[in-house]
């Protein structure tokens, strides 16, 4: 039986099909039209800014803008020995101009990211280059021996290109040497790989702690009457609704060496007054505060899943002779897996990009990758490196987000 049979006799089936198609199309455009304003808003105010910030990690044209002649001339150099006199002359002319209009600092800073210490070489040479005589291929190396080094020129050839991999290499503790091969930085300059590992480690630990603490209370609430469970739920939701800064402040008051917890320890005689424990401004403080802040994100999905598990399943296992432990491990626990997965991935995603708490209570050992991004944004002003670190972090977070969508489904996310 076709759909046309049900239609009124005076409408031919083809026309009906067309009408249906048109109605469907209209509904689709209406739905899209409702979402469109928000989508456009987010595209402009959120996605575009992030995207354009991340391009700074590969696109840094400042050197060729400030020193255009040498940037062009050096490209003809084959990388063997030293460049010819015209390249040196172009450098001298560029540096004279850059010194005059005070742009040398920007290019020198960019150069310094390739070879640490070359900032001063460029600044000093730019000041003195006006007094030098041609041929510059002889007078520049006498001013500073590094102008006679192949490494310097190889680096200039690299930074003259507006597109660079330097920042990504720095973000994983690596640099390019004069031959263009990737080498690991000296041990005392390695920082970021270790920091990525630390971020992952802290996030994983916080995730495990959140599950370990969240599971029992979700279990308890799921097995109470709804009225009493709602009462206990307030204890979970109140911290959830309270300002992050308030909770962080509270932990400072509790954990600092002259704080409440240490006072209690001394009072109970657990530690002496001089032996107060450093619980904050280090990794321990970061982990405690982050666990506290992220705990509701595991309790809520766990509770939702546990509420839906019929108690008869565990009872059936018990009646069939399973011991309570076996019934729990083989029947109950597997049924809570969706909640565990949802809570774990969400906490991990949020922990890995954490900034505020480590910045306030992390001290030196509790800093995470976000804090280094902020440092390069605000203090060292190495925006290329900040963008590269940000891009790596974002890639990791988006991968986890994708996993969360596969595992849980974004539309299943609930808040309280």
């Amino acid at each position: 039986m076709s759909a046309a049979d049900a239609a009124s006799p005076d409408v031919p089936p083809q026309a009906l099909k067309r009408q249906l198609q048109r109605a469907n199309r209209l509904a689709r455009w209406k739905a899209l039209g409702l979402v469109a304003p928000l989508l456009v808003f987010l595209l402009i105010s959120f996605i575009l800014p992030i995207f354009s910030m991340l391009t700074r990690s590969v696109y840094a044209p400042v050197f060729s803008e400030v020193l255009p002649k040498v940037s062009e001339a050096v490209q003809t150099w084959d990388g063997e020995g030293l460049p010819d006199e015209p390249v040196f002359a172009a450098l001298a002319a560029d540096m004279t101009a850059a010194h005059a209009n005070r742009t040398m600092g920007r290019a020198a800073t960019r150069m310094n990211y390739e070879i640490p210490g070359t900032r001063s070489l460029f600044m000093r040479s730019a000041r003195r280059v006006a007094q030098l005589e041609a041929p510059f291929s002889e007078s520049l190396p006498t001013l500073d021996a590094r102008w006679g080094s192949r490494d310097t020129w190889a680096a200039i050839q690299r930074v003259a290109q507006p597109v660079t991999a330097t920042f990504y290499l720095s973000a994983v503790d690596r640099t390019l040497d004069a031959d263009g091969t990737i080498v690991l930085n000296p041990e005392d300059q390695r920082l970021y790989v270790q920091l990525f590992w630390r971020t992952l480690w802290v996030s994983a630990l916080v995730m495990v702690l959140c599950l370990a603490l969240g599971f029992p209370i979700a279990y308890l609430m799921a097995h109470l009457s709804p009225a009493r469970a709602n009462l206990l739920m307030i204890l979970v939701l109140l911290p959830f609704w309270t300002s992050l800064l308030v909770r962080t402040t509270a932990w400072i008051a509790l954990l600092q060496t002259q704080g409440v917890l240490n006072d209690l320890f001394v009072w109970f005689g657990l530690v002496s007054n001089d032996g107060r424990i450093q619980l904050i401004y280090n990794q321990i403080g970061t982990i405690i505060a982050m666990t506290h802040i992220l705990l509701p994100f595991t309790v809520l999905p766990l509770y939702a899943v546990m509420r839906g598990i019929p108690p008869s399943l565990t009872r059936a296992a018990l009646s069939l002779g399973a011991s309570p432990a076996v019934a729990f491990l083989r029947v109950y626990l597997p049924l809570t897996a969706p909640g565990i997965g949802a809570g774990a991935v969400l906490v991990f995603i949020l922990a890995i990009g954490y900034y505020i708490t480590p910045a306030l209570v992390g001290g030196r050992t509790g800093q995470l990758i976000s804090n280094l991004i902020a440092f390069h944004m605000q203090e060292s002003l190495n925006w290329g490196l900040a963008a590269a670190l940000g891009a790596l972090l974002l890639a990791g977070v988006l991968a986890l987000y994708w996993l969360y969508d596969r595992l849980v489904g974004i539309d299943k996310m609930r808040l309280g």
Partner: protein, 283 residues
């Protein structure tokens, strides 16, 4: 329920042990919030209980840190800023978010999953990345260090919460009610405002409250984008924690806990109302 009379000793130990464990975890959750309340009345500029306070000596308590807030222009200014920015961002996020949620829950919506993922992403992307991106972008169009720039930034951050809450409410909304209104001759906008809106309103309002809290609590974007004029409460607290730590911060924190209690209560009442209106309330 307590263990039955025939429970073995082991079961009893397990039962009470488990309760004690849960009690400890709840204490971990709530104690930090409770501790700051009495500490904010400390007469001394310390972050800890003085012996006089433990002896309940009235002289050890004072409201001087609260007076500090009221008498300090910087704090008053930041309180005003927080409310202006928070309320404006809430209305923008709620309006745009509710429209989008209506589209998202329509069965005809194409690419629903992808679009949903994009709309939720401001909650997932690490805040430092969002803040740096917005800092460059809003500076380049002259909106950094303005209220408008921060309002737009906070709108973006609040949107996921509106989307999550309102789509959840709409998922429980019975579409036949709209169809009934339409079949009875109501034009679509009348059907929406007279039938759909009153039923989903509690969900929309709690989405809005979430958006408000997000803006009210946000510090990183403000840290990057706000000048002295646009300082908000969290920005002022941040400066307090980093620079000159004084119990004034604890007094502000106590006030904020009261704000969150009020908001939590509001959301809980709205949730119950919403469930009742959608006929989900079993009781």
């Amino acid at each position: 329920m307590p263990p039955p009379v025939y429970a073995s000793a082991g079961e009893r130990v397990w039962y009470y042990g488990f309760r004690i464990l849960c009690g400890a975890i709840f204490l971990f959750l709530i104690a930090p919030l409770l501790v700051i309340i009495p500490l904010s009345f400390n007469a001394q500029p310390y972050f800890t209980f003085t012996p006089e306070m433990l002896a309940l000596d009235p002289g050890a308590y004072s409201g001087r840190w609260y007076r500090d807030i009221i008498e300090n222009d910087q704090w008053l200014h930041s309180i005003r800023n927080s409310f202006i920015i928070g309320i404006a961002a809430t209305f923008l996020a709620t309006g745009l978010g509710t429209l989008a949620a209506l589209g998202l829950t329509s069965p005809a919506m194409p690419y629903r999953r992808t679009i949903m993922a994009v709309l939720i992403s401001p909650m997932i992307v690490p805040i430092i990345i969002t803040a740096t991106g917005m800092y460059f972008f809003y500076s380049s169009i002259g909106l950094s260090q303005t209220h408008l720039g921060i309002i737009l930034a906070h709108t973006a951050l609040g949107i996921p919460f509106v989307i999550i809450t309102v789509t959840a409410t709409l998922a429980g909304y019975d579409q036949t009610l709209t169809r009934a209104a339409l079949s009875l001759g109501a034009p679509p906008h009348v059907a929406f405002f007279k039938v759909t809106m009153p039923i989903i309103l509690p969900g929309v309002v709690s989405g809005g409250l979430f958006a408000f809290v997000t803006s009210f609590d946000e510090v990183v974007v403000v840290l990057f984008m706000a000048g002295f004029e646009e300082r908000t409460i969290p920005r002022q607290m941040w400066a307090g924690i980093r620079e000159q730590i004084s119990p004034t911060i604890l007094a502000v924190a106590t006030c904020l806990v009261l704000v969150s209690i009020a908001l939590l209560t509001a959301v809980e009442l709205l949730r119950r109302r919403s469930e009742r209106m959608r006929g989900l309330d079993a009781a």
